[in-house]
Structures are given as structure tokens and as C-alpha cells.
Amino acid sequence: MKLFPILMVLLIAICVLAVASILLPDPVGARGTDHPEFANMMHGGAGEAKHAGRLLLNWVFGVLMLLVVVVLIAIGARKGKGLRGLRSPLGLTALASIVAWTCLVISYKEYMTTDSHALFLALPAPSAVMLYGLLPVTALLTVFYVVGFRRWILSEDDLAEYERLLAGKEPAERTPEPSIAEEKR
């Protein structure tokens, strides 16, 4: 799988979106404004005015960003040209994270246009999707690492090969560093 060309394409696409974001007129109070009542506190203002025209662009930005994360993980897990069986778990994680991200954006679209907000486990719906949906999906990557370490990260054959390399390495070839005896001298 040509992971590095894919990474390059994704990064260029993010650059294009970044330029588009820079060129689009900044909505008023896009990064919040000073709170009218309390010092050192920012006020979010009207979500609809801040995000309505940019929701799609930002959603695409988020999707590309999640794909970059998955591609980087795949680069780290790659052996030779293959992914040692990690292709399906990573593909499913990418899909699940994009679904969670999409649900987050959709629920926020609803959130920013309504006044009453029900809470789920102490959070409004979009924030709940973020913390209880997107976060666990990204944490899955760590689960894969731990569960599949022997299969996908470092097999017994890899370790044996590494031991062979270590055994064949002459001390003189190693990075120049004074020995303990030299330091004592």
C-alpha cells in the first residue's frame, strides 16, 4: 500500500483547505469574545453565526485529519510493504472515527440552532459524542497496539532477527562514545 503518497495527498488537501479557511472572511467573534460580565473568561457567542458557513469545510478538514492519523499509525505498523493483518482493524477504526466525527458535527448543527439542551452523562449531546464516542474510538488504537503487539508490532521472528543484528555488530562500529575506562582516566 502506497502510504507515503497517500500521506502527501492528504497533507496537500489539508493545506488547500487551510488556505481556503484563511481566505474566507472571518465571522465576527470566530474565536470567541471577552465575556461581558466576567474578567478572564471568554464568551462563545452565537454558534450559528460563527460556524454556519464553515461547517462543511471544517467537517472535511476533520475527516482529512483523522485519515492522516490512521495513515501515520499504518506507517508505524508496516512491515515491508504489508500491514501484517492490521489493515482491517485500522480500516474499521478510520471508518468508526469518521462516523463519530460526522455524528459530532451533525449533533452540533442541531445544538447551535436550539435553545434547550438535554444532557447525557452530564454533557450536551455533541460534547457527549466527542467524549463518549470519538475519544474511545481513538483509544482503540492503543488497544490494538497492546493486544496485537506480538502479531503486528514485534513478532518473535523480528526479535530473533534483531538479536542476530546485535550479535553481528562490532563494538567499534557503534556511535563514538568514551568508554567508562576512558572517563575514569
Binding site: 484563511i22 466576567f38 572517563e183
Partner: protein
């Protein structure tokens, strides 16, 4: 008990400092060579490494700046925590195995050592060391200043030290830091990190439980109060807006793979097969500590908008005021010790990699060989670096506050933009060239410095660090694709095949 609040807090901090000194003395007996001083003899176990990785990343920011950001921006800052979860996964997959394999086979005592071997380039080693040294100076000065200010605020509440000045506090806190870093090198650093991480986890859990009981209705009550005042603050983007949060997530999550104080710790683990369990320890510790970050920020915002607590003089006062007014004195003592722990665990890691850059990497890059009696010079370099950073912090505080902020801003963004392409991607891609690595590192220094010096605000909510990371990654990939594939050392190639 309430009458003893300040003595308890002071006693906890003193006990913690004595513990650090004791660890330094113990570690001195285990530090007999440069490899011990910079790499802990590559003999660190699972728990120590896992906890050191998360605690050195959390820093004082997680205990003061983090709650302050949640107080000020609402849920925006939670994206930094989300970035941590993803970022650690990226670090483990991209760097965990690979970096340890490199360090073991080539006997690397620092990250620039490994970079020089990977690219067969002393220029790449020099630029990596330079980026580390510049970032370290800013980070270290910020940490020393934070440490001194916290100590001053504690001491000034006691009758004996009511008039103590900041210079004296810088001297006291830096002396403890220097003592255990000089005597025990990175061995003392990682073992104090383990103690510090443990204290941080306990503090995070206890504070979370305390915080949600302060507001009527618990966490849901706090959320309702905040939403009644400003629904956006409780929404997923907080007050910062969607692009700002996405931009933070990008920079912080991918940037983790370029933080030299984390990567260096990966190189120290005793047995490579142990690495399997490190992500669990790191992630669990990080998540539990983050509970403090979110809970104090949200609860203090709720209390202020409800009118129960007066407005804050600064957003960063959220955590100290919460501890002074709402936490049990014993808990406040633990958390203040944890705050010191968080700051010191970051500072000691930076001090060590900065000293390595100064006395090992830059001399080797210039002279093609190490200094004679390198261990002695490593200790001298550690002292020199800490003193320069302390003076720099004081000068900046009294004369030009922008200086530390300038170099501090150099930290995360510059490390990310410089080292993610050259190290995190380059160590996993045979086609990556030394020219591409050098250009990526140089571009990160130039772009980040330009953004800070000229105070450039990027429209659209994009963070400057995100822009510089994008630029350096695209340059790195583009130059490598456009160049002839490099001839790799057979051993380097073999390691990259594993």
C-alpha cells in the same frame, strides 16, 4: 484542620523536595557513565518508563494552565486531552519499537545520535540538537519561573517567609532541581518522574471527586449553569470555535511524536518486548490526571457564573483558588506537591536532553568525536543550562516578559514541526533523505520563529504551530520524493525492515 492548611501545604512541598534529593543521592550510585547519565543505562522497566512518558508531558500546564484554559474557553481545551490519547498512540506505533531498536543497535545516547545514524549526516544531528536546545531553553525557563511563583505563593502565606522574593524562590527550587539532575542524571529524573506521576494520578482522581461535589447537582449541575450563561462554552468547540479546536487537535496529536523528552525515554527501556505494556500505563495515567484539568476548570467557571465565587484575577488562578477554598487541606497539600511534581518532572527531562545536546551532540557534530570525560562535562552542562535558564526566566520576568513566552512558544510547535518529519516519519521511511530532514528542521525553526517574532495571527482560527507542522511535513515528503533514494547503512536498513 483548616487552621493548619498553609503549614500542611508547605510541609507537603518540603517533604516532596526532600524526596527528590534522596532519589538524586540514590541515583548517583547508578550513574557511572555518559550512557547512564543520558540513557539510564537503558535499564528502565515498564512502569517507570510508562509513567515517566506521561508525567513529563503533563507538566505544570496540566495543573495550572489546563484548568485555566477550561475556565476561560470552556470545552475547547478538552481537544488537547483528546489529542493526548491519539498522540500517544501515534508515538507508540511510529516510534516505540523503531527508536528502541536504533538505540540498542547503535548505542545512541541521545535522539540526535540516532538521527545522525539514520541519515548518515552530522548536519542533521547538529540541526536536531539546535532545535532541541532552543526549545529546551524556553520550556525550562517557563518551568523554573512557574516553580518559583508557586513556591513564593506558598511561602508568603507563612509568617516566617512573608516577604520572600521571587529571586530567592528561583534559587531554592532550581537548587533542588539541579541537585538531583546533576547527581543522578536521567536515572534520578525517571525515578522522580515515577513518584511525581503517582502523586499526579492520586491528585487527579481526588480532585475530580471533590470538584463534582462542590456544585449543586454535580457535574450535570455545573454543565447546566455554564450552558445557561453561554451554550457554546459547553458545546464541543467551547468558545474557541470549530477550526481552532481541529487545529489544536492536529498540532498536539501529531506533535506528540516530535517531543524529544518523550522520545528519549522510549530509548531507555530495558527490554524491547516490555514496550507492549507501556501504552497502557501511559494512557491510564494521562487520563486519570486529566480529570483534574477538566473538573477544576468547569466547576470554577460554573461557580463564577453562578455568583458563588468572585471573578478570577487571571484564568490560571482557577486551580490555586479552588484548592485554597474548596479542597480539604490534606488534599490541597497533595495537589500542591503534585503541582511541583508536574513542573519538575518536565523540567528535569528537558534539562537532561538539553545537556546532552550541549555537551554531546553539538560537539560530536562539529568535531566528529565526543568530549573527553563526557560524564563530568554532562554534569557541568546540566548546571550551566539550569543557571542560564533561571537567569533568563528572571530577566524575562522583570525586564521583558515576552522573551520567555517567545521561546516557550518555540517548544511544542517547533519540536513537532522539526522532529515529526525528520524522526517520526524518517525513521519509518527508507526513502527519506538527510537534505529533506535538514530542510524540515530548518523550516520549523524559521516558520515558528517568524510567527512569534512578528506576532502573526493567522485568519480562520488556524494555529501557527499547525501551519508550521503542515509546511515541514509537506517539504520533507516533497523533497524526499523528488530526490534520489539514499544509500542506507545495511544495519539501518535491516532495522527499518523489522
Amino acid at each position: 484542620m483548616e487552621a493548619y492548611r498553609h503549614p500542611i501545604i508547605l510541609g507537603s512541598v518540603i517533604a516532596y523536595m526532600v524526596l527528590c534529593i534522596a532519589v538524586g543521592l540514590w541515583a548517583m550510585r547508578r550513574t557511572k557513565s555518559t550512557r547512564d547519565f543520558f540513557m539510564a543505562g537503558r535499564d528502565i522497566g515498564i512502569f517507570v518508563t510508562g509513567i515517566a512518558i506521561f508525567s513529563s508531558a503533563m507538566s505544570g500546564f496540566g495543573f495550572v494552565g489546563g484548568p485555566g484554559l477550561v475556565f476561560s474557553l470552556g470545552m475547547s481545551s478538552v481537544w488537547m486531552i483528546m489529542a493526548g490519547v491519539t498522540g500517544y498512540a501515534i508515538v507508540h506505533f511510529l516510534m516505540g519499537k523503531r527508536l528502541r531498536l536504533f538505540a540498542g543497535l547503535f548505542d545512541s545516547v541521545s535522539l540526535p545520535d540516532a538521527v545522525a545514524v539514520r541519515y548518515k549526516s552530522e548536519a542533521a544531528r547538529f540541526l536536531t540538537a539546535l532545535a532541541i536546545l532552543l526549545g529546551v531553553m524556553g520550556y525550562l525557563a517557563t518551568q523554573i519561573l512557574a516553580m518559583a511563583m508557586v513556591l513564593q505563593s506558598i511561602l508568603q502565606r507563612t509568617a516566617a517567609f512573608a516577604d520572600i522574593g521571587l529571586v530567592a524562590c528561583v534559587a531554592i527550587s532550581s537548587s533542588v532541581l539541579i541537585f538531583y539532575c546533576v547527581t543522578g542524571g536521567i536515572v534520578a529524573s525517571v525515578y522522580t518522574d515515577m513518584v511525581q506521576g503517582g502523586i499526579m494520578v492520586v491528585a487527579g482522581v481526588l480532585i475530580f471527586v471533590t470538584a463534582i461535589s462542590v456544585v449543586d447537582g454535580g457535574a450535570a449541575g455545573a454543565a447546566n449553569l455554564i450552558m445557561a450563561d453561554d451554550p457554546e462554552a459547553m458545546g464541543p468547540w467551547g468558545t474557541l470555535g470549530m477550526m481552532g479546536c481541529i487545529s489544536w487537535f492536529f498540532m498536539f496529536s501529531i506533535g506528540y511524536a516530535g517531543q524529544p523528552h518523550l522520545l528519549t525515554k522510549i530509548m531507555m527501556i530495558r527490554r524491547i518486548r516490555d514496550y507492549r505494556f507501556i501504552p497502557v500505563v501511559t494512557l491510564a495515567g494521562y487520563m486519570l490526571t486529566a480529570l483534574l484539568w477538566i473538573s477544576i476548570g468547569l466547576v470554577m467557571r460554573a461557580l463564577v457564573v453562578e455568583g458563588v465565587h468572585p471573578g478570577l484575577s487571571a484564568a490560571d488562578a482557577a486551580a490555586p483558588e479552588f484548592l485554597q477554598l474548596y479542597a480539604h487541606p490534606l488534599l490541597a497539600g497533595v495537589v500542591f506537591a503534585a503541582l511541583f511534581a508536574a513542573i519538575m518532572s518536565t523540567a528535569d527531562g528537558f534539562l537532561n536532553i538539553g545537556a546532552a545536546a550541549l555537551v554531546h551532540d553539538i560537539p560530536v557534530a562539529i568535531r566528529s568525536r565526543s568530549l573527553q570525560n563526557e560524564l563530568f562535562w554532562a554534569r557541568v552542562g546540566t548546571i550551566a543550562l539550569a543557571i542560564v535558564a533561571a537567569l533568563f526566566a528572571l530577566y524575562s520576568y522583570y525586564e521583558n516578559q515576552r522573551l520567555v513566552a517567545l521561546l516557550g512558544a518555540f517548544g511544542w510547535g517547533t519540536f513537532g514541526a522539526a522532529l515529526v518529519p525528520a524522526v517520526a516519519i524518517g525513521f519509518n521511511w527508507k526513502r527519506a533523505t538527510s537534505a529533506a530532514a535538514c530542510v524540515a528542521i530548518a523550516s520549523s525553526l524559521v516558520v515558528n520563529f517568524a510567527i512569534e517574532v512578528f506576532d502573526i495571527s493567522i485568519p480562520g482560527g488556524l494555529h501557527g504551530g499547525t501551519l508550521s507542522l503542515l509546511v515541514s511535513m509537506v517539504l520533507f515528503l516533497g523533497i524526499s520524493f523528488a530526490s534520489k533514494p539514499p544509500d542506507l547503512d545495511p544495519d539501518v536498513e535491516a532495522i527499518m525492515d523489522l
